[in-house]
Symmetry: C2
Subunit: 433 residues, 2 copies
C-alpha cells in the first residue's frame, strides 16, 4: 500500500534515526541565534503583553520563558517564546518556502523538552526535524498559499512545531499523524498583520499549536490523520499548490534546512546585501570620497530614507547604514541604531557621499557597491544573500551576532552548552539574564 | 468618513445599549441548553482529554470548567468548555450561516465574566451580542467559505467569541476592532475533522481565541484593525463571499439569533423532523398497525439503519427512534439510546411496522409521517425544522430537555438563576454536579 502524504511526513518526524551532522551543526547555530534574538526581543511591547498573560495565568512549572523568572505551562511558554523571538524580525529565514523556521519550532521543542526532561541534543535534533517539516510543508503549500496572504512562518510553522513537540512527547508515527491532523484544524496566520504586533504573535501561535497537538495526541486524541491533503483539507482550503513530489524529494536524506539564512544586521532586510558587500571591502570612513550603491528597484521605496534622525529611521536607510559600517559601528547590535548615531557629525558628513540607485538587473537579494577612495582607487563588490556560507564562517558570524546581542560571555556559554550532552533545561536557563 | 466593515462590527459589539428583550430570552434559553449539553458531554473522551490538559496546567483560579472542581485560567476554561459542550453535537444550530453559535461563544463569555466579576445578565447580553456576531460574520463569509471546507462554528465563531469576551473585558470600540483583527489571524477550523474529536475541539479553539484576543487587546495589543475585510485579509484568504450588506442589514435592531434552532432529540439531526411529526400525533405503541415515513433522499444513507443493536446505532435509525417515541422512551435523554432499548421485545416488534421511503419533494429539514391505527384510522403529520417555535413552546421544550439531561431540580435552579441578577459565578457553579 502506498503511503499518504501525511503518513510520509509523520514517519519522518517520528523516525528513530538521526539527522546528518552538518544539518545538526546548522541547527545548533540557529539555536544560538534564536536564543540571542529572543533575549534581545524580550523588552518589546508585544513580548511584554504575552509574557504578562503567562505570568497572570501562571500554572504548572513546566518551561521557562524569555524575560521573566519562573516556569510556566508548556503551551503558554511556547506562545510567549515564539512571539518574543520574532518581535525584532531578526531571526532566521528560509527562502525555499519564505518562512522563519526557528521562531515557530524552537519554542515548541524547548518547552516540550523541559516538560519531559529531555536532553539538549534530543531537543536540537527534534527542532531540526521540525524545521525541516516546516520547509517541506511550506514547499507543498507553495507560492499560491503565500501569495494569497498566508504567513508561512505561522501556517507551515505550526506543522513543524507539531513535529518537534510530538517527537519530544514520544509520539509514534500513528500518533504523530493525528497530531499533524489536529494541527491542520488549528494552524493559522495572515500576512495582513505585517507591521503590527500580529506578525510576531503569528510565530507564537504556531509554537503553541505544536505543543497543544503533541500533548493531546499523546493522550490518544483522534483527529483526521490526513487532514493536510484530504479533499477539503488544509491544502485545499488554504490555497495550497499540493507539490507532493517537491515536498518529499530526499526527505530524511537531504536537509533543506541547511540553506537557512541568518540575519547579521539589525536593520531592514533590503539593506543586508549592500552591508555584506561593504563588509567585504573593508574600507574606513576617512578614506572615502564617494560610495555608489545599486539595488533592486523594490527597495527604493522601502529602505532608502536619505537622512533619518531616529534609530528606527536608520534601520531603513542605505546612506546611514553604509556610513555606520565605514565608521565602525556594529550593525548587528540593536543600540547602534539611535538618534545619537544619526547625529554623529562624522556620519552626517559621510552619508552625503553615498548615492543610491536602482538597478533592475539585480535580484532582490543582490546589491552592488562601488567605492571611490580619496587616493583615487576604485573598489567594487557585489553580494547575493543567497550565496552559500561556509559552516565555519556561519559559526563565526552567528557567534559575533550573539555576542553583540547578549554579551560575549553568555554567547560563549550558550555555544558551549549547545555542543554538549546536557539537559534541555540548562539551555532554557539562558532565556533570561 | 464611512465606517469600515470591521469598525461597524466593533461598534456593535462595544455599544452601550441593550439588545431586544425577546432576543435576550432566547439567549437565556440557549444558556440553559448549553449548560445541559455541556454537562452531558463531560464524560466524553475528547472532553476528558482537554480537561486533563487544563487540570495538569492548572494556574490562576479564574473560571470553572465542565466535569471538574476548581477554577482555571480563562483561556484554558474556554478551550475545555467549548470542546465539552460540542462533544455530543446536541447544542444549538443557526441555519443562516450553518454554525453552532452557543458552543463557541458561551464558554468565552462565561470565562471572561468570571474573571472580571461580571453579573449573569451582563454575561448573557454579551453572549447574545457575540452569537449575533458569529451569525453576521458567517453571513459575510457566506456559502463559498463553508463549501470550501471551513467549519463556521470555529471560524465565524471565533469572532463571536471575541466580541463576547471583549465586551466583558470592557474593550471600547477601538480596542474591540483590534481584537477582531487579532482573531482574524488566529481563527481556524476545518470540516474535514467531522467524525473525529477535532470537530468539538474546533468549538473550543474558537472560544479560547476569543478570550485570548480580549485579554491581549485589553492590554493594548495592536493588530490590523481591518484584518477581516482588508485585501489579503481573512475573507480574501478564506474564500469569503464578502456579503457586507447582508451581514450588516439591521445590525443592532434585528436579532438574527432569535431564529436559532435547538435540538430536542439526542440523535442524528436527520431524524428530528420525523420525530417532531410523530410527537404531534401523540400515538401509543399498541394502537399502531403501521407507520410510513417519507424523508429527503440524503438521509437514507445517513440515518436509516433498519435494526440496530447498539445505542449508537439507534441514534441513526428511523425505525428505532419512531418506535421509541411510540413506546414512551424520552428521545431527549442520552441513555434512552442503549443496547437494552434496542433489545426491548415491544420495540423489536413495533419497528417491523415502520417503513421508510425517500421523497425528493421534501427538503432536508422536512419529514412526512403517515400512521395507520389498528382501528383503521389513518393519521398524518408533516414537520419542517425551520418552522418557527413560539417562545413559550421553546421554553417548555428546552426546560424538558435540560431536565432530561441534568435532572429537573438542577434544570429548574439553572433557569431561575438565568432570570435573576446574580453574579456569573453562580451560573458557572452549575457546570458540574
Amino acid at each position: 500500500m502506498t503511503r499518504s502524504f501525511s503518513q510520509s511526513l509523520a514517519e519522518f518526524a517520528a523516525a528513530s534515526g538521526h539527522p546528518a551532522e552538518s544539518a545538526l551543526t546548522v541547527a545548533r547555530l540557529s539555536a544560538l541565534d534564536w536564543l540571542a534574538v529572543g533575549r534581545a526581543g524580550a523588552p518589546e511591547p508585544v513580548s511584554e503583553m504575552t509574557r504578562t498573560m503567562a505570568l497572570t495565568e501562571a500554572g504548572a512549572e513546566q518551561a521557562g520563558i524569555f524575560g521573566a523568572a519562573g516556569r510556566f505551562p508548556a503551551r503558554a511558554a511556547a506562545l510567549v517564546n515564539g512571539t518574543t523571538s520574532h518581535a525584532l524580525d531578526y531571526d532566521d529565514t528560509h527562502f525555499a518556502h519564505i518562512g522563519h523556521p526557528s521562531v515557530a519550532v524552537f519554542p515548541a521543542a524547548l518547552a516540550m523538552a523541559e516538560l519531559n526532561g529531555r536532553s539538549l541534543p534530543e531537543t536540537v535534533e527534534a527542532a531540526l526535524i521540525g524545521m525541516e517539516m516546516s520547509i517541506r510543508v511550506g514547499l507543498w503549500l507553495g507560492r499560491s498559499h503565500y501569495q494569497t496572504g498566508f504567513h508561512q512562518t505561522a501556517t507551515a510553522g505550526a506543522f513543524g512545531a507539531t513535529a518537534a513537540a510530538g517527537r519530544l512527547a514520544g509520539l509514534d508515527a500513528a500518533a504523530m499523524q493525528h497530531a499533524l491532523g489536529l494541527a491542520a484544524t488549528r494552524a493559522a496566520g495572515l500576512k495582513v498583520e505585517f507591521g503590527t504586533m500580529g506578525k510576531p504573535y503569528n510565530a507564537g501561535i504556531a509554537a503553541a499549536t505544536g505543543v497543544e497537538a503533541a500533548l493531546l495526541c499523546a493522550k490518544g486524541f483522534v483527529a483526521n490523520p490526513d487532514a493536510l491533503e484530504a479533499p477539503f483539507g488544509f491544502g485545499a482550503t488554504h490555497h495550497g499548490a499540493g507539490n507532493v513530489e517537491t515536498a518529499l524529494a530526499g526527505l530524511g536524506d537531504e536537509w533543506l534546512f541547511e540553506t537557512v539564512s541568518h540575519k547579521f544586521h539589525a536593520c531592514c532586510h533590503g539593506l543586508h546585501a549592500a552591508l555584506e558587500a561593504a563588509r567585504s571591502l573593508d574600507i574606513a570612513g576617512p578614506e572615502i570620497a564617494e560610495i555608489a550603491v545599486r539595488t533592486h528597484p523594490r527597495w527604493m521605496s522601502v529602505c532608502n530614507q536619505p537622512s533619518p534622525t531616529t534609530g528606527l529611521g536608520a534601520k531603513f536607510s542605505y546612506r546611514t547604514v553604509l556610513a555606520m559600517t565605514a565608521l565602525g559601528y556594529d550593525t548587528a547590535q540593536l543600540d547602534s541604531y539611535s538618534e545619537r548615531t544619526c547625529a554623529d557629525p562624522r556620519l552626517v558628513e559621510l552619508r552625503e557621499k553615498v548615492a543610491v540607485r536602482e538597478d533592475d538587473g539585480l535580484s532582490e537579494t543582490q546589491a552592488h557597491l562601488s567605492v571611490l577612495r580619496r587616493d583615487g582607487v576604485r573598489l567594487e563588490a557585489e553580494h547575493d544573500l543567497l550565496a552559500p556560507l561556509s559552516i565555519s564562517e556561519r559559526e563565526t558570524r552567528i557567534r559575533q551576532k550573539a555576542a553583540a546581542l547578549i554579551g560575549p560571555d553568555t554567547a560563549a556559554t550558550c555555544w558551549n552548552i549547545l555542543n554538549n550532552d546536557v539537559p534541555a533545561g540548562e539551555f532554557a536557563a539562558l532565556l533570561r539574564p
